[in-house]
């Protein structure tokens, strides 16, 4: 059955407001950035209008390639860690009483109210030698000397997973609440242990939600530029850190814009690839 289409201008009226917002807050700034990425830097001032590929050419070096690779790897790792922690956690959470669920969700939402700066400095204290959790391990007799756990890759990863985890749980929560609990029970009456039922039934039934969560955290982590600076060494800095550095400290807007455009294109390509692979698998 095909729906009737009567096209008149008033039919599109509801689209005007969202369309306008999208143009003002997305299309205009993004187009400006693309335009600036072709401009030339003016050492005396800001930048001057031009159309050159210098900024992109400068980016195509081994150094920036490595930084890009590291940024992508870190973001993928953060996404995988988040889903690995958040999915079983949320699965167990929705089985608790309403009161327990509320307490957990409020606690998780309160984490969202913390700024990246606060999260960064809290973790840098927690992982420090003088006041950090290694002192706790010494007290427990697990290690001899308190050690500094930062700056390190692990510290960056921990901070970013901590920051993205509430988002992952909030995305997974509604899908898991809606999941028919009798699916797992049916698997169990058919001889599957609870763990087996989880991997055989719950994970495949929620595959699309899982992919969506991974993509969301991945994109979220790509944009993180404070935590790698607070918790990591310079070799742990992501492309976002370099973009900030170029844009704010080196006043090289055109180069920063070029890197940002490149990052957007690469992440779009990766997200597209993930969706494509997902679709092919579900068609098979």
């Amino acid at each position: 059955m095909k729906r009737e289409h009567t096209r008149s201008l008033t039919d599109y009226a509801p689209l005007v407001y969202p369309g306008l917002m999208l143009i003002i807050f997305f299309v205009v700034p993004f187009s400006t950035m693309i335009a600036v990425s072709f401009f030339q830097r003016d050492p005396a001032g800001f930048y001057k209008t031009a159309f050159v590929f210098d900024n992109y050419a400068r980016f195509l070096s081994l150094f920036f390639g490595q930084v890009l690779g590291f940024s992508l790897l870190l973001s993928v790792l953060v996404a995988l860690c988040c889903v690995t922690i958040a999915f079983p956690f949320t699965y167990l959470l929705v089985r608790q009483s309403r009161a327990i669920q509320t307490v957990w969700l409020v606690a998780l939402l309160s984490v969202l109210s913390l700024s990246e700066v606060i999260i960064g400095f809290s973790w840098s204290t927690l992982l420090s030698r003088t006041a950090g959790i290694s002192n706790l391990l010494v007290w427990l007799g697990l290690i001899d000397q308190p050690v500094a756990l930062l700056p390190s890759f692990g510290a960056v990863l921990t901070g970013m997973v901590y920051q993205a985890l509430p988002y992952s749980i909030l995305v997974l929560y509604p899908a898991l609440v809606r999941l028919d609990p009798t699916l797992v029970e049916a698997a169990r009456t058919l001889g599957a242990s609870p763990g087996r039922a989880f991997f055989n039934v719950v994970v495949p039934a929620l595959r699309n939600t899982l992919v969506a969560t991974i993509i969301m955290v991945f994109v979220f982590a790509l944009g993180s530029y404070l935590l790698p600076q607070i918790l990591g060494r310079p070799q742990h800095w992501t492309l976002s850190v370099l973009i900030t550095d170029q844009a704010i400290y080196q006043s090289n807007m055109p180069f920063a814009a070029a890197m940002a455009v490149f990052l957007v294109l690469i992440s779009l390509a990766l997200v597209g690839l993930t969706l494509l692979v997902g679709r092919r698998e579900s068609a098979a």
Partner: protein, 345 residues
Amino acid sequence: MSGLSIQGVTKQFADFKAVDEVSLSVPHGTFVCLLGPSGCGKTTLLRMIAGLEEPTAGAVMLDGDDITSVPTHKRNFGMVFQSLALFPHLSVGDNVSYALRIRGASRQEQKSRAEELLKLVHLPGFADRAVSKLSGGQRQRVAIARALALSPKLFLLDEPMSALDAKLRESMQVELRQLQQRLGITTIVVTHDQREAMTMADLVVVMDRGRIRQAAAPVDIYRKPADAFVADFIGSTNLLPVERDSAGRAAVLGTAIPGLTLPEGASKAFVSIRPEDVQLGPPQPGTIPGTVTFVRDLGGTIETFVEASGTKIVAVTTPRDRGEFAEGNAVGITLPPEACVVVKA
């Protein structure tokens, strides 16, 4: 003993007792229907048999072994859920052979068993279809086939027909009964539909508020209800107060019913009589006098509503032996004593 034996099983939830000291014996090959209004504990009892709920007290025994603490996945009971719970990401064939996959059967073995089971439920050649492409009745059959994949010791069904329309439900009831007879499998079905229970069961277990009110063959449940609740729940019935009159005879609404006896020592009780057993005639001595208040002619049957001393009595007749009664007629009601069942007040 052989078969399933439930011994004093109780399930206490936070603030109420869903199942209250229920005991029941089910010999092998029996078709049992747990019947009762919603909230009577029948589903909780079934879930405890399946191992999905743990009893607060009591034991579930199978062939003499205590299986109360055996986890669900080690019991090998087939179960059909009210929601059917078919796995949406698997094809029909993979749904049916899921239990074999868990047991590590070869792909070939899974395929042939799935085809065999689908043939059993009249869905040959459906193995490669997606579950979402099936009709309600077909899903029902797939759920049944899946539950029977490992030839389970017990076949449990929780309100399996509730999602089907009335016509399909009736034919599925007959089909399920025939399947059970063919396989000889011990089957327990939870239902709130007394017609469904009467159609399928060898043993009907009527439950109310967590307790078993009566467990008997369908005909006995209908003809000899144990109490007022069962009489009222199974089909429609007239529940009339019966008293011992001055001469010591059992009297209904002031008229003695010869041949009817009250239990020893009781002076008051109720008598349950099915509408089709109530006889109407002209007012005569020895009959209960009443007035016709309404006649509902349904074509196949005629229901005559009579009021006698403030009590409503329904009589059902077929058009062939219809009495010519109209609203406002005075009638005499005869209650054949052999059709009257005295139940506790």
